[in-house]
């Protein structure tokens, strides 16, 4: 059918519904059009813009065969209390069919404090596992073969230290570093912009990150050295387009820093990975995943002149949106997570964590985690959504929306370039303000009823307080402090002192790669707090400025 004929048909259709639609209430959050046709994608060149899976610009997926070869990695984020408790949960997940581990650390660990630091009071073991030294890491991975499992660690400011601990545990298991598979989040820019667990100012933080890129490219080649994260930006309230735009802008900043440090783009770009949020609007999310791959491929090819195909592939881990879970009628969250899972799978994710129904209330119970994992397995094995590659390609709406999100992302990326790049845009508060404005708009839309959240602002019921929530007892903190004191009494304290002094000297020389020095300190059982303490002394600490 020619475009003229389609246009004539569309005009006829529009005339036929004009009377009915004039009576519809205003619903500003809906897409501009109620119907999409071939006319909406008539300028999209299939070969150039959509193409084939495993081929530039990777709109349809990064692997040639996607889930026909194997499903995504079902990777459940877990960790709480002590290393021994978390080790039990990890082994339970592996026995239940999870195919990768994902470690959650408590806040003191994420900010580089030991459990016995006064600032850690009340936080030890709460949102993740407490790790003070190599001794805890040994317990965390007890009876888990690091040569077989792939492990993702949500750790940013002290990522270098936790990676060093992981390498050291593997050494003790007899697994060489070049066999290790996994990911460290290591994305400090989104910590400043959205997540809040920063330690050092941007410049030394970027140095630590490029040190890791360089060290791993030579010694831990299968390791994903960074997970450039839009997830938390979205959780903080951004839109879908902002999520991918700000994250890709962060990615550009990391590449520029690494190139400035003397690395070649194709030596590290293949180990960069991304982290997206799977939010409520299924079709918008699918379009977001597709658009993000296309934008990154173009950035790598056109801006950085990467040559290896791997450098141009946006590989992504996904987590369903925690901020969309409701405390009201928590079982409804099972349905939300199922739809978000569908979006991530049709979007072509490489791995996925599904949230549990009770996470707006507390850490998830084992039963809730099982339902969340089963949700992935049902989508994989029963739903048919994973049967063919990129099944929504060619949908007039999804292709048009993919184009729209890509266009909006470029506009933001160009704007950030004008400001001087992502680091400058964060220092000026631009990215934070954009996210805050979107978060406020969302909240006001929910309060006005423009946006409906089932059970929150519509279809509410009286509810009994939920029962059986998981609670981390305060005694966990006490026990962990005792463990730490016992370990310190047993280790060779002279060796620790010497290693920390050596690390300090290395920190002061900007041209020195810190990874070997950190690994050396970790092996002496120097604690996370001691190692980060040395770096705090030399590098100072970041201070945020908030404009409401």
């Amino acid at each position: 059918m020619s475009n003229e004929k389609i246009q004539a048909g569309l005009d006829k259709y529009n005339a036929s519904v004009e009377k009915a639609t004039s009576r519809f209430p205003e619903r500003s959050h809906l897409p501009e059009q109620r119907l999409y046709t071939p006319l909406d994608i008539k300028d999209t060149d299939y070969a150039d813009e959509i193409g084939f899976p495993g081929m530039y610009p990777y709109t349809r997926g990064v692997q040639p065969t996607m889930y026909r070869g194997r499903f995504w990695t079902m990777r459940m984020y877990a960790g709480f209390s002590t290393a021994a408790e978390s080790n039990k949960r990890y082994r339970y997940l592996i026995e239940s069919g999870a195919t990768g581990l994902s470690c959650a650390f408590d806040l003191p660990t994420q900010i580089g404090y030991d459990s016995d630091d006064s600032i850690s009071e009340g936080e030890v073991g709460k949102v993740g596992v407490a790790i003070d030294s190599l001794a805890d890491m040994e317990v965390l991975f007890d009876q888990i073969d690091l040569g077989k499992v792939s492990t993702s660690m949500t750790i940013n400011a002290p990522a270098s230290v936790l990676l060093a601990m992981y390498i050291a545990v593997a050494e003790k298991q007899g697994v060489p570093a070049d066999q290790l598979k996994g990911t460290i989040q290591n994305d400090i820019l989104k910590e400043y912009a959205a997540r809040g667990t920063y330690i050092f100012p941007p410049r030394p933080s970027m140095r630590l990150i490029t040190n890791i890129f360089e060290y791993c490219s030579k010694n831990v080649p299968k390791w994903n050295t960074i997970s450039i994260s839009g997830y938390h930006i979205r959780e903080a309230g951004s839109t879908a387009s902002q999520e991918i735009a700000f994250t890709i802008a962060d990615g550009i900043a990391y590449c520029e820093a690494a190139i400035k440090a003397g690395l070649h783009i194709d030596d590290f770009a293949g180990r960069l990975s991304f982290f997206w949020n799977a939010h409520n609007n299924v079709l918008e999310e699918v379009a977001k995943f597709r658009a993000s791959r296309r934008v990154w491929a173009k950035v790598m090819k056109e801006r950085f002149h990467a040559e290896k195909p791997k450098s141009m592939m946006l590989r992504v881990h996904t987590q369903t949106a925690g901020s969309m879970l409701t405390a009201q009628q928590p079982n409804n969250n099972i349905v939300r997570v199922a739809l978000q899972t569908a979006a991530a799978v049709m979007g072509g994710t490489q791995s996925l964590h599904t949230n549990s129904r009770d996470e707006a209330l507390a850490l998830p119970t084992e039963e809730s985690v099982m339902i969340a994992l089963r949700t992935q397995q049902i989508v994989a094995y029963e739903s048919g959504l994973a049967d063919v590659i990129d099944p929504l390609a060619g949908s007039y709406y999804v292709e048009a929306l993919t184009n729209k999100i890509e266009k909006e992302a470029w506009e933001y990326i160009n704007k950030i370039d004008e400001i001087g790049g992502a680091v400058a845009a964060i220092e000026k508060g631009y990215i934070q303000k954009e996210i805050q404005d979107s978060a406020y708009k969302w909240q006001m839309d929910v309060e006005s009823g423009a946006k409906t959240i089932v059970g929150v602002n519509k279809f509410q019921i009286e509810e009994e307080p939920p029962k059986g929530l998981l609670k981390v007892d305060a005694s966990v903190g006490v026990a962990q402090c005792k463990r730490l004191a016992d370990m310190k009494a047993k280790r060779d304290n002279d060796a620790v002192k010497a290693a920390l002094a050596d690390l300090k000297t290395a920190c002061q020389d900007e041209n020195e790669n810190l990874m070997p020095h950190i690994l050396n300190a970790v092996r002496t059982y120097a604690t996370l707090g001691e190692i980060c303490g040395v770096m705090r002394e030399v590098f100072g600490e970041y201070e945020a400025h908030v404009n409401l």
């Binding site: 009071e121 009201q328 707006a360 939920p466 409401l548």
Partner: protein, 130 residues
Amino acid sequence: MEKRIRVLVAKPGLDGHDRGAKVVARALRDAGFEVIYTGLRQTPEQIAEAALQEDVNVVAMSILSGAHPHLFPKVVNLVREKGMNDVLIIGGGVIPETDIPALKEAGIAEVFTPGTPTSDIVEFIKANVK
């Protein structure tokens, strides 16, 4: 003209989740209050000191990390120790229902959990501020 209500919005502890705190801060400002936001990682001592220096009527805290049983009461005690007996202290975040009675016992006037409209917080402050 009546003096405007002054509110300190505070993030005690190490938790970095401040979407809620910032949204509430802005909603309170839009409702006509004067709002001071502390930023992240404030110790209870820093929060009590800021409440005193800023001469606020209300301290509104947010925690999503589970550290509220430890940190909320600590702030209340320090604020009262500094002689601010009339300051209204409220809290919010991911806080299980079962923890709320103990927090109220400790002097937290009200606890707002996920899904609360910001207008409820505004109304509560207007009705209870001294």
